[in-house]
Amino acid sequence: MIKNLKKQNVWFVFTPYLWLVLFFFVPLALIFKISISVSEWGMPPYRDLFSFSENGLKINSTLGNYLFIFSDPFYIRSYLNSLSLAFTSTVLCLLIGYPIAFYVAKSKPSIRNILLIMLIIPFWSSFLLRVYAWKVLLQGSGIINSILIHIGLISEPISMLHNHYAVILGVVYTYLPFMILPLYGYLVKFDLNLIDASNDLGAKPLNTFVKVILPLSLPGIVAGSMLVFIPVVGEYIIPEMLGGSDKLYFGKIIWDEFFVNRDWPIASALAMSGIVILVFPIIIFQLMYAKYNFKNE
């Protein structure tokens, strides 16, 4: 172990942190600055925060952008929609992914490795193309409509695209491997004898699951849920490709404010509020969870 920071090691240690400060934290500070600036026509489309005039330094800052966002239910609803999408799809991924991960982990080693490879293949293949695949499937002339008509369940193609159910389906489909793989990682280390022991001691299967298997796979559940929840909160691609106008999500609103309305201050204020509303709860949860684990150890 290196006990002291030698001079030649200083650059080795601090280069990556400098990089992150420069390209991650400075840009965040910048959107904060723009979020309290006043919109203006021109390039860049906001007024400088500080300006010098005859009367000395003048500060052109405003909380107007934030007031505007929080007085308009349109924006608040988009935050709530994103949160509820992330929550719903995390729960669905867990419900679908848990049994799959469990049975894969409990297969014979030879079969298990093949199944594991089959889980990793969708994980590696392009995210965008997997979303696109559902766009193809759900078309009015798509294969699901054809099957439903063929078996006589419906008589005319129904529109399955461009609503928030299609978005949930797309999210669950694309993020399912992110849930299954960490769950598998914990379940595969799990000693099968514990289940037998619990059964031998007279526990019913449900009790064994709730009291033995579930607590031991909790770290996998938390890890998988984080891997699904965090990216889905800001998801832009899936609502854009499969969603409609029935529910708008936070990621798409920022995109439109920036690229379509060209309102940089509002887009920045939305991003800052997004960090406070959507990202801070995740950080707090992780800190609490780390503390809880620490106590239990």
Partner: protein
């Protein structure tokens, strides 16, 4: 018997759900019809058109270039972070550095993209760099969000292996730099490789951050594909999906076979 039936049932349904959309897409890539979902006959027509599509080929090349550069830089810095967090006991303000290195993990990509774009625009105003948005700005952005992921992988590998090996080397008089190259690096090599692969895939797959930070002449593959399928379907993209799936499946099978022969040894 009931239990076994339930297991096979669950796995069949689960894997069908994962594979049905992909396989349908591959099947329809051979459809000789401009209307994607109406079957006309088997043909390689869309593969031919795909390989004549300059825009897609160029974007594919750009993506590969950015992804391999980004993965390399991100891995180097990820190793530096992992090493400094697990091996330097006297690093001042450790929690602060942990916070620095892990916060990109929880940042939504849309906010990351927006903030980087605004940053590049203002730094261009102030110091004239970067002179324009393009491959360089996309590369910088990709390195930035990949570093944190690589650092996590390296860190978990470094903290799980026995530090005594390094201390033994030190006691035997090995100088610190040599310890890293001769002892630590070989042990964490698998973690370095998987970190590089993860960073490579993250960059190759990224649409949102690249859309914000790209400029003329720097369209990556996801940007071109997205512009083709945002409003409708594209038979060329079906063919592209089939090719990408084929590459991924071949890679997965070869890794499986390598692993199996290693275990047998």
């Amino acid at each position: 018997m009931n239990k076994l039936f339930f297991k096979i049932f669950t796995l069949t349904i689960g894997f069908s759900f994962l594979y049905f959309p992909i396989l349908t897409l591959i099947a329809y890539s051979f459809n000789d019809n401009k209307r994607v979902m109406v079957w006309k006959g088997f043909s390689f027509r869309w593969y031919k058109e795909l390989f004549q599509n300059e825009q897609i080929l160029e974007a594919f090349y750009t993506s590969l270039k950015i992804a391999s550069l980004s993965a390399t830089f991100a891995t180097i810095m990820g190793v530096m972070i992992g090493f400094s967090l697990t091996r330097i006991s006297k690093i001042p303000a450790r929690p602060f550095f942990i916070f620095l290195s892990s916060s990109p993990l929880v940042m939504p990509e849309i906010i990351l993209g927006l903030s980087l774009l605004l940053f590049f625009i203002s730094s261009n105003h102030i110091i004239g760099f970067p002179s324009s948005k393009g491959q360089l700005t996309v590369l910088i952005s990709h390195i930035t969000f990949s570093v944190a992921f690589v650092a996590v992988i390296i860190q978990s590998r470094l903290s799980s292996y026995d530090k005594n090996i390094e201390e033994a080397a030190q006691d035997l008089g090995t100088i610190p730099n040599m310890i890293f190259w001769k002892v630590t690096a070989p042990v964490i090599l698998p973690a370095i490789l998987s970190g590089w692969l993860l960073a490579f895939t993250l960059s190759l797959d990224d649409l949102v951050v690249a859309s914000f930070t790209t400029g003329p002449g720097a369209n990556t593959l996801p940007i071109v594909v997205f512009s083709k399928v945002r409003l409708g379907l594209s038979p060329e993209v079906n063919a592209l999906s089939a090719i990408i799936m084929l590459i991924v499946i071949l890679a997965a099978i070869s890794i499986y076979l390598i692993n199996r022969s290693n275990i047998k040894k």
